[in-house]
Amino acid sequence: MLSRLVFVSANALKGSGHFGPGLVQASRSLQTSSQSLAPVPPLPEKGGKTRHGIIPEELFQLLYPKTGVTGPYMLGTGLLVYMLSKEIYVINHETFVAASIGAVLIYGIKKFGPDVAAFADKLNEEKVSKAQEVKDLAMTNLTQAIEDEKKEQWRVEGRSMLFDAKRNNVAMILETNYRERLHMVTNEVKRRLDYQIALQDLHRRMEQEHMVNWVEKSVIGSITPQQEKQSIAKCITDLKALAKTAQATA
């Protein structure tokens, strides 16, 4: 892990500081491969895999073909024992200090490691989700716009039917209007003809009445008093005869 740290930070130093770009340029002039800088290749999501938190997994993979699973452990143990026996590393009070610091560090990492990692992931996740929200909102807006557009197109199709209906409507109104006017004209004509008829009727009636009155007047004038007496006596004798017949039958 520490070696990885050196590589990572060397890379970081290369890109940082005042001489950063210069270094990159210098190294680029020596490169002869046709690598392009865009699009930027994606970073790996997780760091390198490590065994026991410190030793990179690559060491185990490296030694596996020759020494199997226990190879690196044997190497570690051997190195440690060699250094102890040859007193390259002397056990002194610093060993105790190292042990206690190691214990504190390992305890801290084991206990708070996952929480801290989750927190870092949450920070990144929030960043991504904010952008995702904007994107999703834009997507929903656009799909909504598509739906609305489709509806508008459907409406446009229906508009011809609307025009037909309106045309029918107008035609009906015109027809109605025409019929009304026709009706009105008929009524007016009928009224005038009725008037003429009434006038003629009146004329004829008046003539008739006048004639009847004249005839009556002349007849009444022509009746002399003698005729009147005679007719009255006749009526009386007729009545008496009738009365007799009526008595006879009853």
């Binding site: 740290l5 050196v6 990572v8 930070s9 970081a12 130093l13 890109g15 940082s16 930027v40 970073l43 760091g47 056990i91 002194n92 009070h93 610093e94 060993t95 105790f96 200090v97 190292a98 042990a99 206690s100 610091i101 214990a103 504190v104 801290v116 990692a117 927190f119 870092a120 992931d121 920070l123 990144n124 960043k127 991504v128």
Partner: protein
Amino acid sequence: MASFFDQFMSPTLMGIPLMALAFVLPWLMFPNPAPRWINSRFLTLQSWFINRFTSQLLMPINVGGHNWALVLASLMIFLISLNMLGLLPYTFTPTTQLSLNMGLAMPLWLATVLIGLRNQPTAALGHLLPEGTPVPLIPVLIIIETISLFIRPLALGVRLTANLTAGHLLMQLIATAAFVLLPLMPTVAIVTSVVLLLLTILEVAVAMIQAYVFVLLMSLYLQENV
């Protein structure tokens, strides 16, 4: 004859002084943000911490003092990384050297004082007399406040040095005691080891706290004068 103070000697390798290396190497622990939108977990946490810390620190200071944001934040990162790395075995802690701490404290303190005297001399001098002092005490109090003002850089530097040196020394002593007692009285050695463990936890806390206190007091002095 190895003494307990060997850990505080300036590190050299075959005559080449390594002091510069000692306080430049922690820079490697703080990578630059990559030109990416989402960074690694470490970088996310680092930038979160620095942002949070700086905003907290600069909250009580008014806008004129915000020029000091970079200085204070980088000072904090520097001190905290030096202190924490010094807790590892066989390492040299530069902040145990009075020269380093005074070299940090004195110029920064002097800068705050000069800024205060230049921009608002009346207010800066007014800090020498607290409010509500009885009139007969004024001359004495001014002298006392002046002394306290001039002692500030000394206090800053010596506080950091003394805390870290004492902590390291104590760890060495108790570890030596445990080491020596191990063949003689193993149980006592175990008790001593437990004490050492507790002390280590304390040292971790002290390392972080002392760095923070240094920077906090500096921001306080800035706040007075800006």
